[in-house]
């Protein structure tokens, strides 16, 4: 199985049933890319988590209101753009592990613990990966924003903010420029968490999604935003263009 080079792309029978005879498929792929963009921003006392709600395949929009954000708790969320079936499975696996952790340890999982678990879970499928590009975000044990971003096979890093998914190339440079966070490359190290006040950071995230929706066909319809502070978690939905 490890030797198979998967070709990504839509693979429904629909496209092929247009042909005439039952014939060997050119190549069936176990993967699809359902698009979508997600962003997380960590502040000193907040964490913003946002994801578009469009589900696509190829040039089709499958649905306009499908969440990519999986809430493990009010203060801990996983965002997974990429292949929706893998994302859903990953979320379910993590949900199980999250409950088992609580049975075993009698306390909720910290963001750091969850981040490591997510990394391990992804790496466990190193040779048949979950085709998802995750962000794990929430408030850490000091109440600071915590954002971890991953590749499909589990390598990860904590950072002050992260962007993943189809609109990444559009949004990442904007956040690099606007979030007022020191580069992790600066020496001696400086605090790389965003120094923006919460409301400005939220506005920036909304603007970023509106802009990505303008140019990326896989980002649109709406963006779902969770604003996590120690007072609690607030959910907002901002409509995006539906084209």
């Amino acid at each position: 199985m490890a030797n198979v080079a998967y070709q990504l792309g839509s693979s429904g029978y629909a496209a092929n049933s247009a042909h005439s005879a039952p014939h060997a498929h050119p190549s069936w792929s176990p993967y699809d890319n359902n698009g979508g963009t997600c962003v997380a921003v960590a502040g000193n006392d907040y964490c913003i988590v946002a994801a578009s709600t469009r589900l696509s395949t190829g040039f089709s929009i499958l649905s306009r209101d499908v969440s990519m954000i999986f809430k493990l708790s009010d203060k801990l969320m996983i965002l997974s753009p990429g292949f929706q079936a893998d994302a859903r499975t990953l979320h379910k696996v993590l949900q199980q592990r999250y409950i088992q952790y609580q049975f075993n340890h009698s306390r909720p999982m910290s963001v750091a613990a969850c981040a490591q678990l997510l990394g391990n879970t992804l790496y466990y499928k190193r040779f048949f990966p979950y085709y998802t590009f995750n962000i794990c975000a929430g408030l850490d044990e000091q109440g600071k924003g915590a954002v971890y971003s991953y590749d499909a096979i589990g390598s990860h890093e904590r950072s002050g903010y992260a962007v993943q998914g189809s609109g990444k190339d559009l949004i990442q440079p904007v956040l690099d420029n606007q979030l007022k966070a020191a580069s992790p490359l600066v020496l001696p190290p400086e605090n790389w968490m965003s120094s923006l006040p919460l409301d400005q950071a939220v506005d920036l995230v909304k603007d970023a999604f509106v802009s990505a929706g303008e140019r990326d066909i896989y980002t649109g319809d709406a963006v779902e935003i969770y604003i996590i502070t120690k007072e609690g978690t607030r959910r907002e939905v901002v409509e995006l263009k539906k084209d």
């Binding site: 199985m1 198979v4 029978y13 049933s17 039952p22 014939h23 069936w28 499958l62 929706q84 079936a85």
Partner: protein, 242 residues
């Protein structure tokens, strides 16, 4: 030429492992809409063998229980296998005798696992499924692809219907439609599928779920119109073609 691996398998007394790489007998689109009192699903009754109309009265909409119906496109033998799985689950409910029946959402979740697990074994069940039902007095409509991708929405169309009928639904569908309006909308969707998808025949069924239970209609045909002048002599209005 004998495949050496397959030959070895025969010698060792085992069949070679076979996976579906293409479908044989297929059904095309399934359409579904929610409305005020429940859910309607619609599909034609054709099982195509390539471009041959192989089975002309194949019922692609099935009742699962009093609150759930399911419709399928894609490999029809795989669909019949899926129905046996659901039958087993329903039998378990019956034998448990505890008044608990699988709800539409449970069936939807279960089937998404089945299809995902099979794709993960690189041995997919070649179907697009639509699950319709009423749960807690509210309509539920969801779909699952052969890869395990699944979502629920107010209106759904699989296969060619996604391109042909879904735009109509997006324009005209309202969750508070009456049954007549919803049926009308489905007819429009089916008609355009019949006009433009050559794997659709003019023999359809509509299945309905409400709090009252499920019904699947007798097959019916839609009124169609082919005698447009442009069709009779297509070249007349486009000089120099054909």
């Amino acid at each position: 030429m004998v495949d050496p691996k397959a030959a070895a398998a025969v010698h060792s007394g085992h069949d070679p492992i076979k996976h579906t790489t293409s479908p044989y007998v297929t059904g095309t689109s399934v359409l579904g809409v929610t409305y005020r009192d429940g859910v309607l699903l619609a599909a034609d009754t054709l099982g195509s063998y390539g471009s041959t109309k192989r089975y002309k009265s194949f019922e692609r909409l099935c009742k699962v229980n009093d609150q759930t119906i399911i419709g399928a496109g894609g490999e029809l033998s795989d669909f019949q296998y899926i129905l046996t799985l659901l039958e087993e689950l329903s039998n378990e409910d019956f034998c448990a005798d505890d008044d608990a029946k699988l709800s539409p959402k449970e069936i939807y979740a279960y089937l998404s696992r089945v299809l995902y697990n099979r794709r993960s074994k690189m041995d997919p069940l070649w179907n697009s499924l639509v699950v319709g039902g009423v749960q807690d007095g509210k309509p539920f409509l969801g779909t699952i692809t052969m890869l395990g991708v699944h979502y629920s929405d107010d209106h759904i169309a699989t296969g060619f219907g996604q391109m042909l009928a879904r735009p109509l639904f997006r324009e005209r569908h309202r969750p508070d439609m009456s049954e007549e309006e919803a049926t009308q909308l489905l007819h429009e969707g089916l008609r355009v599928c019949y006009y433009r998808d050559k794997q659709t025949t003019n023999k359809f069924q509509i299945a309905k779920v409400t709090t009252e239970g499920t019904t699947i209609s007798e097959p019916f045909a839609l009124e169609t119109k082919w005698d447009y002048k442009a069709f009779v002599n297509p070249g007349a209005l486009a000089m120099g073609t054909w």
